[in-house]
Each structure stands twice: as C-alpha cells, then as structure tokens.
C-alpha cells in the first residue's frame, strides 16, 4: 500500500534527525572549544539536516492522517474517516506524541534559521548557542524516538479511528496550539543565545539585540495564542467565560508574564547597560517556565481538565528541566563579574525605575501563578493533604496586581530616562489624571459602586489619555513641518516603531482590561423550559420555541430556536445546539452568542429531554467584545514593531548611549 510506505518513513526520519542533532552538538562543541570555524559551519549544516528530517517525519505523520492509515496507533486514536479535511491537520497536535513532534519541528527549524541568519554566524557565541539548541533538540528527539513514539504500530488495525475530540474541531484550534508552541519554542532562541554569549565570555556582544526579533515574534505569537485560547474556550466550552486558571492555562501564562517583564527590562539594558544579570535570569526563567508548562501538561501530576495522558513521558522532563536550570544558573554565577552593571539608577522618579517597578510586578505575578499552580503538590508533599487552588485565589491576587501594572503602563512613558524635574512631570501627568478622575466621577454618578470596577475604568481612561498625549507630542514635530494631523501621527508611529508600536500594544491592553472589568457585571440564569415557555436573563426575555433535528455522517444535530426580546421588542433569534457525535458517543453543545460592544447574550442548551424540553443556560456578559477588539489592536501594534528593522536599537545597545528621539522632548 502506497500510503503505508509514507508512514514507514516516519521513524527512520526521526532517527536520522536524532543522529544529525547529535552530530551538530559534537561539531558545535568542537568548533567552540578548539576555535575551529569550519566545524561550526558543518554544525549549522547538521542542524539544518536534523530540521529537514524532523519536517519529513511530521509530513509522513500528516500523510498517514490524511490517508487514514489506522495501522498507526496515533492515527487510530486521534482521527477518523469522517473527520473534516482541515481538522485532520489539527490531529497532528491533538495528541501528545504528535504535539511533541510538532514542537520539535518548530525547534529545529527555528534553530537552523537563527544560526544561519545571525549577522556573525562564526562567532563563538553563536557556536555555543548552536550547541545549546542542538542539545535541546536531542532531548525532544529522544522523547519521540522512545517514550512518545508517534509512529507506534497497532497489532490489530481497526477499520476506523476513534476520532478527534469534537471540541478540537473548531477553527480556533487550528491556530491556537501552533501559536502557543511557536511562542514556547521561539523563546529557546534568545535563551540559547544568552547562554552562548555567557559561555563564550562574549558578554559585550549584545545577544539580546541579535535575538530581539525572535523574542518579539515569540512573545507576539504567545500573546495572540493565549487570547485565541480564551476566545475558543468562550465560544466552544459553554460555561460563559474565557479563562478558568486551569493549570494548563497557567502554564502558558507564566512564561508570558516573565517574557513581558523581559521585553521591558531589556530596553534598560540597551539604553543604560544595566540589569544584565536580571535579563539573563528572566530569559532563563521564561524558557524554564515554558518547558515546565510542557511538563505539567504531559505528566498528569496536576489534575486539569485538559492534560494529556498520565503517562511516563512527563518524568523525562524533570532531569531536562533541572539540567537547564542548574546549568543556566551556574553559567550566570560564573560570569557574574562580567555581567555587573555599568550604571546605577539615578533617581526614584525615572523611566528606569518605572520599568523596574513593572518588572517587579510582572515577576511577582508570574510567581503568584506558579505558587497557585504548584501549591497542591507542595502541600501534598509537606503535609500529606491534597488541596486544590481555585480561581477565587488567582482573581483576588490579580485584580490589584493587574491594576498596579496598568497604572504603570500610563506613568512609565511620561517619565524621562535618568531623572526629570517635578514641574515637567506634573505638566505631563495632569491631563491623564484629570481623565481618570472624570471617568471615576462619571461612573460613581451613574451608580457604579464597585471600587475595583471604578478604579479599573479610571485607570483605563488615565492610560488611554497618557498614550494619546505621547502620540500628540510626537506628532507635533511633524505637524510643525506641514503634515496634516493623520499624516503626522502615522509618521510618528512609523519613525520609531518599537516605541509607538509599543504604545499601540498598551492601548490594546487597555481595551482588554475594559472587557475584564465588564465581567464584574456578569449575569447567569439557568432554566428548564418546555417548548413555548420563557426565561429572563438581565434585560432579555428568551422564549424557547422548539427543537429541530437533522443528521450528518458525524453527528445528530439538535437545534433549538430561541426568540430573544428586550423590553418587549424582539431583537432576534438564537440557535444554540446540542449535537450528538457518533464517534465519541457524547453530546457537544454549540453556543449561540449575540454579541455587541455593550454586552454579549450567551445561550447554551446543556441538555435536551427526549420529549423536547430543554435545559438552557444563559449569560449576559457586559463588554466582552472589547477583549477581542483589544487583541486585534495589540496584534496591530505587534505588527508595527515587528515590521521595523533592528539597526536603531542595535546602535544604541552597542554604544550605550541614550538615543531618545527629538519628539520625546517636545
């Protein structure tokens, strides 16, 4: 059979990839230790060959999935004949073995590109980085070759597979896992280059500038991936929310927090040559947390609704993680002297200390999530009592922490580097403060009495006006030379893309916080309705008119007709479904959402009675729309930053000079 032969390529390809990764490690190490450039170049080629064979292995698994080659256990477990075409692709990362293979594809390809595209590929720092990357690749290829073999065969070949979880058959699930993995894996590049720079002793080499685009790219992918995960949970899972502080969600959020801290503090290193140890530690923490998250989801050590099997694969991660952490810390300790700052902080009120405060809060946030996530393990080991930590804990901590970070988002850009006069600061701070107070007063007069919500909206107003002020001050320079306002603002944005693109990302965050704050006004109602009867939720009346049934090869569709009215006026009809999937032998509800910027009406059928009565769960979620709008604005800001070149920051990093654009002084 032709299809079977393609699948047969998989395991040999994996073994070749492993062989070449080992070869790459040896060549890179030889080159680095003996200062032999040709060996380093050969190492790069070996890394490339390893990437090629890993891609071949993934292609062969994909072809087996498309060919329904159920002799492979993986194909039989995660796909079926009736699975719709595009979702066959998501089966590639729907199971543990496939997801590790996908991870390794990204790792080897990214590593090859990073080594080849480095401006100075023959330097010892790059050679060491190549060795680190080859080492990481060897670990993952070993996993794939032994405990998590995606090409394991079944003795009895079934006629059909058990199918992909219907929850994963959604467009969001085609994009969300690849983006998260891109983010996680992408951080191995700055991590490896940081370690490479330290081992080679080339600490003056600005490793962070040569990997800046990787860092930004990975951070952007992780950010968008996390938001898409939330959007998927919101539209698919039917519990009316988008974030549940589940250990697996936390696993993606922790590296995001430390990476965000790093993105900010690396600016201080660039402009002032400070915080070197801190930055190296942050990138180590980010990568360690990304690997730790991968371990959590694959070890079954924590109870989560979306962990993979409780198999033995997770155990392999512990020595890897330990080696990485201990190795990283040892290298930092050895190079401690070279990493010392050249400068000190000058004043409490300065851009540096605003960045520092931001960092302290982000790292505190990351450790809080880590604490809440691993506390059950710690408690069980120390006291023998098994506890679980719920969303109530995380929400209680994150509201104040998040609001403090939001406030800094507004203050940071207003204070200048090194020190600034009180007069100038108060002049710049006045409009945003006035805006914040106006928002708070307006909400209070409108009857809003929840302090947290009032503060959140007031800070949103404060930050939005502070960002607008930055753009206006930047735009004035171009306005003076005759540009129209729109052209002047566009010029401002495009001239210093990192800075103003960053402000656009901040604006996106403000919109997202508006959406989070709206959740305080959430309303939930459950009702068991006979056809023709009604329920109320918020200002809406929902009338369940009846159920229509139809069938496809995959599922039996049960479609409810729910008429929606508000204040006696009909506003539309919603069609939530509860469909029975034959392959999984279980129902799957499809949420119906009527979304507006003001509020979402969110309706789920949780259960149909055989006689046609329906259990209906309905939510009114105020302002949720702003979360997705904010994510789009964030993505736009990230594109602006990523579209810019590196030279501007690179020169500043190399010379240690502070090069603020003239516009900042205006």
């Amino acid at each position: 059979m032709r299809t079977a032969s393609l699948a047969a390529l998989g395991r040999p390809a994996l073994l070749c990839a492993l062989g070449f990764a080992v070869l790459a490690l040896i060549l890179f190490a030889m080159s680095a230790l003996r200062r032999r450039v040709p060996a380093g170049r050969a190492g790069g080629r070996a890394l490339g060959a390893s990437a090629g064979f890993t891609v071949l292995a993934a292609a062969s698994l994909l072809s087996a999935l498309f060919a329904h080659d159920f002799s492979l256990a993986y194909v039989a477990n995660y796909s079926s004949r009736s699975l719709a075409g595009p979702y066959t692709v998501s089966a590639l990362w729907g199971g543990m073995e496939g997801s590790l293979l996908f991870w390794t594809v990204l790792l080897t390809v990214f590593a090859t590109i990073a080594v080849y595209r480095h401006p100075n590929p023959d330097s010892p720092a790059v050679t060491w980085a190549g060795a680190v990357l080859a080492g990481i690749a060897i670990f993952f290829l070993l996993l794939l070759a032994f405990p998590a073999d995606p090409f394991a065969r079944l003795a009895d070949v079934p006629t059909d597979g058990s199918g992909l979880n219907p929850l994963l058959q959604s467009p969001g699930m085609l994009i969300h896992p690849p983006l998260l993995y891109t983010g996680f894996v992408g951080f191995s590049i700055p991590f490896a280059f940081a370690m490479g720079a330290l081992v080679s002793g080339r600490t003056e080499t600005p490793w962070f500038t040569s990997t800046r685009r990787w860092t930004l790219f990975s951070w952007s992918a992780l950010s968008i991936g996390i938001v898409l995960g939330g959007a998927w949970a919101y539209t698919e899972l039917g519990w009316g929310g988008y974030w549940a502080w589940d250990p697996v969600e936390n696993a993606s959020f922790m590296p995001w927090l430390t990476a965000t801290a790093y993105l900010h503090s690396v600016v201080i290193q660039e402009k002032r040559r400070m915080l070197r140890i801190w930055n190296v530690s942050l990138i180590l923490a980010t990568y360690a947390l990304a690997v730790f998250g991968t371990f959590l989801t694959r070890s079954g050590i924590l109870s989560s609704i979306h962990t993979f099997t409780e198999g033995s694969t997770g155990v392999w991660f512990l020595p890897f993680l330990a080696a990485m952490l201990l190795g990283g810390l040892a290298i930092i300790a050895l190079r401690y002297d070279r990493l010392r700052s050249e400068n000190r902080l000058d004043a409490l009120v300065s851009r540096e200390s605003a960045f520092l405060a931001n960092n302290v809060l982000f790292v505190a946030a990351a450790f809080t999530v880590l604490w809440g996530t691993v506390y059950p393990i710690v408690a069980e080991v120390t006291t023998g009592v098994r506890l679980s930590v719920g969303p109530a804990f995380f929400n209680a901590v994150f509201v104040p922490l998040g609001l403090a970070i939001l406030a800094l988002t507004g203050i940071g850009p207003l204070v200048s580097w090194r020190r600034m006069s009180k007069g100038r600061l108060s002049r710049l701070v006045r409009p945003p403060v006035v805006a914040g107070i106006a928002v708070a007063a307006g909400l209070w007069l409108a009857g809003m009495r929840s302090a947290g919500v009032v503060i959140a909206f007031a800070l949103c107003g404060f930050v939005a006006v502070a960002i607008a002020g930055e753009f206006i001050r930047g735009g004035r320079v171009y306005r003076a030379s005759g540009d129209s306002w729109p052209a002047a603002l566009a010029h401002t944005l495009m001239r210093n893309r990192r800075r103003y693109g960053g402000y656009v990302v901040h604006l996106g965050i403000v919109l997202i916080v508006i959406g989070f704050a709206g959740a305080a006004g959430k309303v939930e109602r459950n009702a068991f309705l006979e056809p023709g009867s009604s329920m109320k939720v918020g200002a809406y009346t929902l009338t369940y008119e009846g159920r229509e049934q139809s069938s496809t090869p995959e599922k039996q569709i049960n479609d409810a007709t729910v008429a929606v009215s508000r204040g006696g006026e009909p506003v539309g009809t919603l069609h939530p479904q509860s469909n029975f999937h034959f392959a999984q032998q279980q129902p799957q509800s499809e949420v119906a959402i009527r979304t507006t910027p003001v509020e979402d009406l969110y309706v789920v059928v949780t259960q149909f009675d055989p006689d046609g009565a329906a259990a209906i769960r309905a939510f009114v979620n105020p302002l949720t729309w702003w979360i997705w709008a904010g994510a789009v604005v964030m993505a736009a800001g990230m594109s602006v930053i990523l579209s810019g070149g590196t030279p501007h920051g690179a020169t500043a990093g190399a010379t240690g000079r502070v090069r603020e654009p003239v516009a900042a002084a205006g």
Partner: protein, 146 residues
C-alpha cells in the same frame, strides 16, 4: 543627550548613591512584602482552596459542612437521574461510592463511566456539588482497544 563618560559619574558621587540605593532597597522590600501579604490574604479567603480527595477519602472524612471539597471519581453506570435542572448521580473510586446532587449544568463529556471532579460540600451522606467538571476523554490517551 548624554555620553558614555557621563554615565561613569554616577559611580563617583558615592554618598548620595548609597542613599538612593537604600531607598530602592526599601522600595523593593515594601513591594515584596505587599505581594507576599496579598498572596497570604488571597490564600486564606474562603473558596480559594479546597480539599482534593478521592471518594474513599471523602467517606472517611468527618462531615464538615463549611469546608469545600473537590472529589474525584468515575460516574457509576445507570446512576444518572435528571429532573429538570436537578441531577443526581453516583461516583466511585472502585472502593466506595457517594451520591452527588447538583442543580448546575453538566459538561458535555459527562456520562456513564466518565471521570469527573465535583466541587462542593459533603454532609456525610450526599455531596452537594456547585460545579462538576469532566475530563476530556479524547485528549487522554485513547483507551487500549480490546
């Protein structure tokens, strides 16, 4: 705009720098203490933590109405009874079982033999659940075929 030489000056004027250093250390200490306090306060709030137990452990525990429990077990086949929004079912860990009642919507993966985690209170006889989660079966490794 400043030059590299002006950076060095910050090292020279030691006394004010030491004072600033102290300020920063105190500032960082205050922030850290606040965060630790925040975490401690949040952990001690009711509902933040729950005892995570198996069915046997739940049955062996003294009935304590005020405590939150999360109990993990497998839905016993044929035990699910629905009346309107109210559902009653039994879960087991293979050694003992407990009856669970809830008026909350149940997840799609909830059915006979599915593994669930119920959060709620135990009065010594029945477990009143405020939330029932089911583990996603197919994200688990599929069961070995017979």
């Amino acid at each position: 705009m400043q030059t590299a030489s002006s950076h060095r000056q910050s090292h020279v004027n030691a006394p004010p720098s030491a004072k600033r250093r102290a300020k920063f250390i105190i500032g960082a200490g205050v922030v850290l203490a606040t965060v630790v306090g925040l975490v401690g306060w949040a952990m001690s709030r009711p509902g933040s933590t729950a005892f995570y137990v198996s069915v046997s452990e739940l049955q062996a525990s003294a009935p304590a109405g005020a405590e939150d429990y999360r109990v993990n077990g497998v839905v016993m086949p044929g035990s699910i009874e629905r009346r309107g929004l109210d559902t009653t079912f039994a879960i087991t860990d293979g050694r003992s079982d407990v009856t669970v009642t809830t008026d909350q919507p149940l997840p799609d993966a909830f059915k006979d033999r599915s593994e669930v985690v119920a959060t709620g209170n135990f009065n010594g006889r029945t477990f009143a659940a405020t939330q029932v989660l089911a583990k996603c079966p197919s994200k688990f490794k599929a069961k070995s075929r017979a």
